[in-house]
């Protein structure tokens, strides 16, 4: 009985491992980080629109041509603009987007610090 359990566990683990391998395919990784322009809100990987399917083929082609991940992103950014990337770069349009969390963190931290200091002074 124990051997059977062990066997089942091992089979499960192997399945998890192989599904993980599939997800690590670079083409898949790239298309997951691209926004579909037809069904906006879905990634190219998730979408089944004509545009998304072509883009999947194109990404594979570009990878075969020897382009790396960043070059493919740059290539598509050049064609369609920043919007196509889920992870937009740091430029004048995205300063606010990237800096807002840091600002909020600093501001919140300042408030907490002030409270702590005030409390200490009272003690």
């Amino acid at each position: 009985m124990n051997i059977l359990k062990l066997l089942i566990t091992v089979i499960f683990l192997i399945n998890f491992y192989s599904s993980d391998l599939k997800a690590k395919n670079l083409g898949t990784e790239i298309t997951k980080n691209l926004r579909c322009l037809i069904c906006q809100g879905q990634s190219v990987y998730d979408s089944d629109s004509e545009f998304a399917n072509s883009l999947k083929i194109l990404v594979e082609k570009k990878l075969d041509d020897g382009l790396n991940e960043k070059q493919i992103y740059d290539y598509l950014k050049n064609k369609y603009g920043d919007w196509i990337l889920y992870d937009p770069g740091f430029n004048k349009n995205t300063y606010f987007l990237w800096l807002l969390p840091i600002l909020m963190f600093v501001f919140g931290g300042a408030i907490i610090l002030r409270k702590v200091i005030l409390k200490k002074k009272k003690l």
């Binding site: 322009l37 004509e50 545009f51 072509s54 083929i57 082609k61 064609k79 369609y80």
Partner: protein, 172 residues
């Protein structure tokens, strides 16, 4: 005095937030890529529609003539709407119309041309849609006005009366 600052600050903050979101309601949330003009046309290889010969993009767009690249498919309904404008343009001497047959079935596409007439000077096939991406297109129909290997106008969607006269003016 100090007690009053906080409520005022709160009201101002919320008013600003309200204003930003209220303004945001009126914006379209559908993104269309910026229409960049004056960019160089991509280079690619494709198969000629009828003969299936491989042709290179620099064999298609030669010299300083005007070219209108039109991405079309027989399954695309708006393509039928814009077809009459393409027919009109094909009668003009100084503009060549190039068709890019997007993800289409050959027989259906041929029937489309037989039924509605063929406005194109040359057609090439884009069976997997990757050439459309080279152009920065993402659907059908899309048209590009080209001169001297530069895109001078990009049209997303079907041609209409207004765009038609605009093209006529540009190619005068």
């Amino acid at each position: 005095m100090k007690a009053k600052i906080f409520p005022i600050f709160l009201i101002i903050t919320f008013s600003i937030i309200f204003y930003v979101f209220y303004k945001g309601l009126q914006n379209s949330n559908i993104y269309t890529p910026e229409i960049k003009s004056e960019i160089k046309i991509p280079s690619f290889e494709a198969k000629e529609f009828f003969s299936k010969d491989t042709i290179n993009s620099d064999q298609i767009f030669i010299g300083s003539e005007f070219y209108l690249l039109n991405i079309w498919a027989s399954w695309c309904i708006p393509c039928k709407e814009e077809h009459k404008y393409l027919m009109d343009l094909s009668k003009k001497e100084n503009i060549k119309i190039i068709g890019q047959n997007y993800k289409d079935n050959f027989v259906n596409a041929k029937n489309f041309l037989i039924k509605l007439d063929n406005p194109y000077d040359l057609i090439f096939s884009d069976n997997d849609g990757t050439i459309a991406i080279e152009w920065g297109a993402y659907g059908v129909p899309e048209s590009f006005l080209i001169k001297n290997n530069q895109i001078i106008k990009k049209i997303i969607g079907p041609l209409n009366e207004k765009l038609f006269s605009e093209i006529k003016e540009l190619t005068q």
